[in-house]
C-alpha cells in the first residue's frame, strides 16, 4: 500500500497500480478511453489527464496521464485542477471532431462510454466547423455490426482482438486521423471472442448485429442476473428483455470467472429463446393427431399418470439443479436416471471424485498460470471462455523479466515489447488441432489413449509414486520429460483436461499430474501467491484455489449438478422400460442426443407414456405422448453447478410467457393432482430446502444467492433500469392505466423499475449501472476495487468442502491402442458453433455452424486415394452415415473425426471403432 494525496487529502492505495486504477478504485470519476482494466495502460487517448505535483511546495504541477503513472508513495495529484479539467474537455472535443453525433440512431446510445465521458467532462458545444472524415463500413459476419464513422481511435478493439484474444484477422489500417479499425477485407470475424468488441469499444463502432434486428435501448430493457446455459464454464450474463422477447446478452462481471469477457456462443446463443423451435403449448398426442391442452388440464393429466407406480424420470445436464431434484422427488431416487450416456455419467462421476480431492482453478487464476499442459481438450470449442483465460497464461513467464527492469505489468505495451513473442511453457496434446495451438510451445497428436499415456508419463516424471508407463515411444517419453520439467519449475503450473475425448484414462492422467504438482508445491512451499508480484493469483472465495493446479472442462451447464444428484445410468432406464416401466418423464433433454437412434426408437416404442418437458421442440418432444412447455433459462430461475463445482443462481429476465412454466412447477402441480405429500413446494426456496435436506453436500447450493425473503430497506431489487419513460407506457395501447408488475414469488428481484436503489449482492445484480456510468464500464463502480471481486464477493459458492490433503494416484495406465486393420478410431471433434444443442438454434450461430462431415488425416486420405468433399459412409456398429470427407492435416492418422452434436451424428457413442466406405 501507498499513501497518495488527491486534491489535498490522503488515501491509501495499491502501490503496484497506476493512478487511474487508484482513483477509480477510490470511487472518483476520472474519464478514460484507451485504458481497460483487463487490457492495461497504453497512454493513447490522453483522456485521464490529472495534475501531478512534485511535493507540497509545488503549486504549478504538471499534467500527467493517470493511467501511465505509478501510484507511488507520497504522490500528490489533483483531479479537480482547472488545467486538467480543461484538458480533459479538450480531449473529448478532439475525439468528437469526426464523430457523427448520431446517438439517436446508434445502438450504443444510452449505454455509451463516449456519451458518459462527454457528459462527465462537460463538453457540450461543437466548435470544430470543418468536414468530418467518413469511412465505408465492413461486413464482419452475422454477429458483429460495424459503423466506423463513430470511431474515436482509442485502439481498444485491436488491443483486445489481437493482443488479448490472439485474433489475426483484424487490425488498424492507415494513420493520423484516418486510422481504420477492421479487417483487411470484408468477412466473418474469425475470433470466437469477437462479440466482446461490442463491450470493449467505448462507442458504437462495434455493436451486436443480432440485437440490431430486435433493438431495444438499455433503459427500456428488463434484465436478470443470469448464468450462461451453453457450456460448463458458467459465465455470468445479463440477458435483456422487452415485450416478452429476449433482446440480447451482455457480460455480467464475475471477478473469479468470466471477468469482462464472454465467448460468442454465450453472447449470441440466446436467440434460441425467441425462435420458432420453442415448445409453446402443452400437447397430447392422440391417435387422431396432436391436440393442444391448456396448462391446467395438462398438469392434471400428468398428475393422473403419476399415480401409476411404474414411473421413471430422466434428468438433464442442461436443466437446473432444482428441476432435476424436483423430478427425482417426483419419481423417487430409485427411479431417477441420468440424461446422459452411461460413459459420460461414468466420466462425470470420475470428474467429481477427482475434483473433490483437487480444487479446480477458476478462470481468473488460470490467467496467472506460468506453465500449462492441455491434455486432450479442445478448450476453445468445449469450454470457450476458458481458452481466453489460458491464452493470457503464456504471458506470465516472459513477464517475470519486467520485475528486474521495474516495468509494471499494467504498462501494457512496454510489457509486450519486452516480452516480444516469447511465450511461457504451454503444451497441448490433442487428437487434432485446437485453436490454442498458436501459443503452444509443443504439440502432440494422438488417439485419446495415447494422450493419456503421455499424461501418465508426465505425472510419473513429476512423482515416482505415480505409475510409470510401459513401452512409451521415445519421442513421447522425451516430451513428457520436457513437460514435466516445465511444470516442475513453474510457480503456478496448471493442467487442463476434460470430458471432450470421453476418456477415463485421460482424466485419471490429468488428475495424477495435478496431484503430483500439488505435492511438489507443498514440499517446496511455493504456493504463496506473493512469489511473483507482476502476476498474482487472484484470491477467490476460497484460498485453496490459489494452489489449484487442475481444471476439467465438462460438457454442459449443469453436468456436475446432475451427477451430484446420484442418478442411475441411462441404460438402466432402458432396462426398467423393458421390465415394465410404463411412464417415462424426460426432463429438458433430447434423448436422441444421448442414445444411438435405434436404442431411442426401441425405448419410445416400448412405452405407454413418454412425457417430455422441454423449452424447445426436439425429436424427443415430437415422440412424446405428452409434451409440456418448460420455461427457457432466460424465463426461469435455478442453479447450475459449473466445472469448478461452483453453484450459481440464474434468474428469469421475464416471467415465462403463455402456457410455459418452470419444470419444477409442472412437476409440483402434477404432484398436487396426484395427491402426494412430497413436492408441496410453493417457491424455489422450498425446492432448495428440500434439496439441502436430502443432499447435505449440496446444502451450499441453497446459499449461492439470497433467498426470496431478502430485501434491501424492505424493498426488492429492480430488474429494470430507472428511467422516466418507455416501459411504463408499454401497454398503453391496450390500457392506459399502468398494469401491476408481474409477481415474482421465487426471488428477491422485482419485474419492475421500482425497488431498492442501492447495489444489491453480486449474485442478484442484474445489470451494470451507476450514476453517470451508463455503459458496461459501470462495472468499475460496482467492484470492491478495480478488476477485483464485485462488492459482496464473487457470486456463487463451491458446493463441496475444501479438499483434504494427501495425494492418491490412479494406477491403470492404458496400453497403447492397437490398430485394427480396416478400422478407424472415431473421435468427436467439437465446434463452438454447432456442437451445443441450444445455441445452434440461434440464427447467427447456426449460420456459422459447419455441416456434418467426416474428417480423416491427410495421410489416411492420401493412402486411400480420397479427395476432399468425397462422399463416404461411416459405419459404426449397425449405423451408417453418408458424409462428405474433410481432410484435416492436423488429425492424427488412424482417427476418424466426427463433429460432435451435429445433425444425425449427435447420439453416437464415441470414441468407437468404425469402418469407412466410399459411398
Amino acid at each position: 500500500m501507498a499513501t497518495i494525496y488527491i486534491d489535498g487529502r490522503p488515501y491509501a492505495v495499491d502501490a503496484r497500480q497506476n493512478l487511474l486504477h487508484a482513483c477509480l478504485s477510490l470511487g472518483f470519476n476520472l474519464p478514460y478511453f484507451c485504458w481497460h482494466p483487463a487490457l492495461g495502460s497504453v497512454g493513447a487517448c490522453r483522456q485521464c489527464a490529472i495534475k501531478q505535483f512534485r511535493g507540497p511546495e509545488d503549486q504549478r504541477g504538471k499534467l500527467v496521464m493517470a493511467c501511465m503513472t505509478a501510484a507511488s508513495e507520497g504522490a500528490r495529484i489533483s483531479i479537480a485542477d482547472a488545467e486538467a479539467v480543461a484538458f480533459r474537455a479538450g480531449i473529448i472535443e478532439g475525439m468528437m471532431q469526426n464523430h457523427p453525433h448520431d446517438c439517436p440512431v446508434c445502438d450504443e446510445g444510452g449505454e455509451c462510454h463516449l456519451q458518459d465521458m462527454t457528459v462527465m467532462t462537460g463538453h457540450d458545444y461543437r466548435r470544430y466547423r470543418f468536414a468530418k472524415r467518413t469511412f465505408r463500413n465492413q461486413y464482419l459476419g452475422p454477429l458483429v455490426h460495424h459503423e466506423m464513422n463513430r470511431c474515436i481511435q482509442c485502439y481498444r478493439c485491436v488491443r483486445f482482438y489481437r493482443e488479448y484474444a490472439g485474433g489475426r484477422d483484424f487490425n488498424v489500417f492507415g494513420i493520423r486521423n484516418l486510422a481504420y479499425f477492421g479487417r483487411y477485407q470484408d468477412g466473418v470475424l474469425e475470433s470466437e471472442f469477437s462479440g466482446n468488441l461490442d463491450e470493449v469499444c467505448p462507442t458504437g463502432v462495434f455493436t451486436d448485429a443480432t440485437h440490431k434486428r430486435h433493438y431495444t435501448r438499455k433503459w427500456d430493457m428488463q434484465f436478470a442476473p443470469s448464468i450462461c446455459p451453453h457450456c460448463g464454464v458458467g459465465c455470468n450474463l445479463s440477458p435483456g428483455e422487452r415485450y416478452g422477447m429476449l433482446r440480447r446478452i451482455v457480460n455480467r462481471y464475475h471477478g473469479g470467472l468470466n471477468g469482462y469477457f464472454l465467448c460468442d456462443r454465450g453472447r449470441y446463443g440466446y436467440e434460441f429463446v425467441n425462435g420458432d423451435q420453442r415448445l409453446r403449448q402443452p400437447r397430447l398426442r392422440l391417435a387422431g393427431g396432436p391436440q393442444s391442452l391448456p396448462q391446467k388440464q395438462a398438469a392434471e393429466l400428468l398428475g393422473e399418470w403419476l399415480a401409476d407406480d411404474r414411473v421413471i424420470g430422466i434428468g438433464s445436464p442442461r436443466a437446473s439443479l432444482e428441476a432435476n431434484f424436483a423430478l427425482r422427488a417426483v419419481v423417487g431416487a430409485r427411479h431417477f436416471y441420468a440424461g446422459v450416456a452411461d460413459a459420460e455419467l461414468a466420466l462425470l462421476r470420475l470428474a467429481l471424485e477427482i475434483l473433490r480431492r483437487q480444487p479446480a482453478a477458476p478462470l481468473r487464476s488460470m490467467e496467472s498460470a506460468d506453465a500449462v499442459l492441455v491434455l486432450g481438450e479442445d478448450v476453445t470449442n468445449t469450454a470457450p471462455r476458458m481458452a481466453l483465460s489460458l491464452r493470457q497464461a503464456v504471458r506470465q513467464q516472459p513477464m517475470q523479466a519486467l520485475e528486474a527492469l521495474k516495468i509494471p505489468a499494467w504498462l501494457d505495451h512496454a510489457a509486450r515489447e519486452l516480452a516480444q513473442q516469447r511465450r511461457g511453457p504451454f503444451y497441448i496434446a490433442a487428437p487434432a488441432a485446437t485453436r490454442l495451438d498458436d501459443i503452444a510451445r509443443e504439440l502432440w497428436r494422438g488417439a485419446p489413449e495415447e494422450l493419456a499415456r503421455l499424461g501418465f508419463a508426465v505425472a510419473h516424471a513429476l512423482a515416482p509414486e505415480s505409475p510409470a508407463v510401459a513401452g512409451l515411444a521415445p519421442e513421447a517419453a522425451a516430451l513428457a520429460g520436457r513437460i514435466a520439467a516445465a511444470l516442475r519449475s513453474a510457480q503456478r503450473p496448471l493442467v487442463v483436461s476434460g470430458l471432450g475425448c470421453r476418456s477415463t484414462e485421460l482424466l485419471q492422467a490429468a488428475a495424477n499430474i495435478a496431484a503430483a504438482l500439488r505435492r511438489l508445491n507443498k514440499n517446496n512451499g511455493r504456493n504463496s501467491p506473493k512469489a511473483n508480484s507482476t502476476a498474482e493469483a487472484r484470491p477467490d472465495d476460497s484460498s485453496s484455489e490459489n494452489d489449484a493446479r487442475l481444471a476439467l472442462a465438462v460438457p454442459e451447464a449443469n453436468s456436475l449438478g446432475l451427477a451430484l444428484l446420484d442418478p442411475h445410468p441411462l441404460s438402466q432406464a432402458l432396462d426398467a422400460v423393458r421390465a415394465g416401466a410404463a411412464t417415462v418423464i424426460v426432463l429438458e433433454n433430447d434423448l436422441y442426443r444421448r442414445l444411438p437412434a435405434g436404442e431411442m426408437q426401441s425405448l419410445a416404442s416400448g412405452l405407454d407414456r413418454l412425457i417430455a418437458l422441454d423449452c424447445i421442440e426436439t425429436p424427443t418432444t415430437r415422440q412424446a405422448r405428452l409434451a409440456l412447455p418448460a420455461a427457457a433459462w432466460a424465463e426461469d430461475d435455478g442453479t447450475f453447478i459449473n466445472y469448478e463445482g461452483r453453484a450459481q443462481r440464474y434468474y428469469a429476465a421475464y416471467p415465462p410467457p403463455g402456457e410455459m412454466q418452470a419444470s419444477w412447477r409442472w412437476l409440483r402441480d402434477a404432484l398436487a393432482v396426484a395427491g402426494r405429500e412430497a413436492g408441496r413446494w410453493e417457491t424455489l426456496d422450498d425446492v432448495l430446502r428440500a434439496l439441502a435436506a436430502e443432499f447435505p453436500d449440496l446444502a451450499a447450493a441453497a446459499t449461492a444467492a439470497p433467498p426470496e425473503s431478502f430485501r434491501i430497506h424492505g424493498e426488492k431489487v429492480p430488474r429494470q433500469p430507472h428511467r422516466f419513460s418507455g416501459r411504463t407506457a408499454m401497454s398503453a395501447n391496450l390500457n392506459v392505466s399502468e398494469p401491476a408488475p408481474p409477481p415474482d414469488p421465487d426471488t428477491p428481484l422485482a419485474f419492475s423499475m421500482e425497488g431498492a436503489p442501492t447495489q444489491p449482492p453480486a449474485a442478484i445484480l442484474p445489470f451494470a449501472w451507476a450514476p453517470g456510468w451508463n455503459s458496461y464500464q459501470a462495472w468499475n463502480k460496482l467492484q470492491r476495487e478495480i478488476d477485483g471481486p464485485l462488492r459482496g464477493g464473487n457470486p456463487g459458492v463451491r458446493v463441496w468442502p475444501a479438499p483434504s490433503s494427501g495425494e492418491r494416484y490412479f494406477r491403470d495406465v492404458p496400453p497403447p491402442p492397437a490398430a485394427r486393420a480396416g478400422e478407424w478410431r472415431a473421435v468427436p471433434l467439437y465446434h463452438i458453433f454447432g456442437s451445443e444443442e441450444l445455441s445452434r438454434l440461434a440464427p447467427g450461430i447456426s449460420q456459422l455452424s459447419p455441416q456434418p462431415y467426416l474428417a480423416l488425416s491427410e495421410a489416411d486420405a492420401a493412402r486411400l486415394g480420397l479427395g476432399a468433399g468425397e462422399a463416404l459412409v461411416l459405419i459404426l456398429e449397425s449405423q451408417r452415415f453418408t458424409l462428405p470427407l474433410v481432410i484435416r492435416p492436423d488429425l492424427a492418422p488412424g482417427l476418424a473425426g466426427v463433429p460432435a452434436g451435429l445433425g444425425p451424428l449427435q447420439g453416437l457413442a464415441l470414441p468407437a471403432w468404425c469402418r469407412i466406405e466410399r459411398a
Binding site: R162, R168, D169, F170, G174, I175, Y184
Partner: protein, 154 residues
C-alpha cells in the same frame, strides 16, 4: 506466388532480424520494386511467406507512404510539398505538373506513364524546389525546366 527472385531477396533480409515478421517492410519494398505496387494478391503472398496474416501485414503497409496499395504508372513523380520547397515555388511547379500531365495528386496519366504524388521534404532544401522521379532527385526546378526533366522518362 512470390517469384523466385523476390523470395531470394526477402530471404536475404530475414537473416538480418531475429523474427520473420520483422522483415515485413523490406519484403513489401522488394515486391513493390518488382511489381510496381502491392496488390491484395501480393499482400497475401508476402504475408503467407512471412507467416503473418494479411490483416497484420496490411496494417503495416497502410502506415507507410512509400508502400503503394494502388497501382501506379511506370514512373512515380514525388513532388516535395514541404516548407522550403513551398517557399521556393512549389505551388507553380505543382500547377505546371497538373497542367502538363492532366492529373492531380494520387492520379496516373491515361497512358500509364506517370503517377503524381506529394512527398514530404526530400532533404534538398538548399536546391528547392525539388522532386523525385523513381530513384532520381531533380533539384532547383522551375516550371520551364519540367519538360526537360520529364523527357527522360518514357
Amino acid at each position: 506466388m512470390l517469384a523466385e527472385q523476390e523470395r531470394r531477396e526477402i530471404e536475404a533480409e530475414l537473416e538480418r532480424y531475429p523474427r520473420r515478421d520483422a522483415a515485413s517492410i523490406d519484403a513489401l519494398r522488394i515486391v513493390q520494386r518488382h511489381r510496381g505496387w502491392i496488390s491484395d494478391d501480393s499482400l497475401r503472398e508476402i504475408a503467407e511467406f512471412l507467416q503473418m496474416s494479411p490483416d497484420d501485414l496490411d496494417s503495416v503497409a497502410t502506415f507507410y507512404n512509400l508502400i503503394y496499395r494502388r497501382p501506379v504508372g511506370r514512373h512515380v513523380i514525388l513532388l516535395c510539398n514541404s516548407v522550403s520547397c513551398w517557399i521556393m515555388g512549389y505551388a507553380q511547379l505543382r500547377q505546371e505538373l497538373h497542367r502538363r500531365l492532366g492529373i492531380g495528386f494520387g492520379e496516373t496519366t491515361a497512358d500509364g506513364r506517370f503517377t503524381l504524388l506529394p512527398i514530404v521534404c526530400l532533404g534538398a532544401c538548399d536546391h528547392a524546389p525539388a522532386l523525385m522521379i523513381d530513384q532520381d532527385l531533380h533539384r532547383d526546378l522551375s516550371p520551364d525546366a519540367l519538360d526537360r526533366v520529364l523527357e527522360g522518362y518514357r
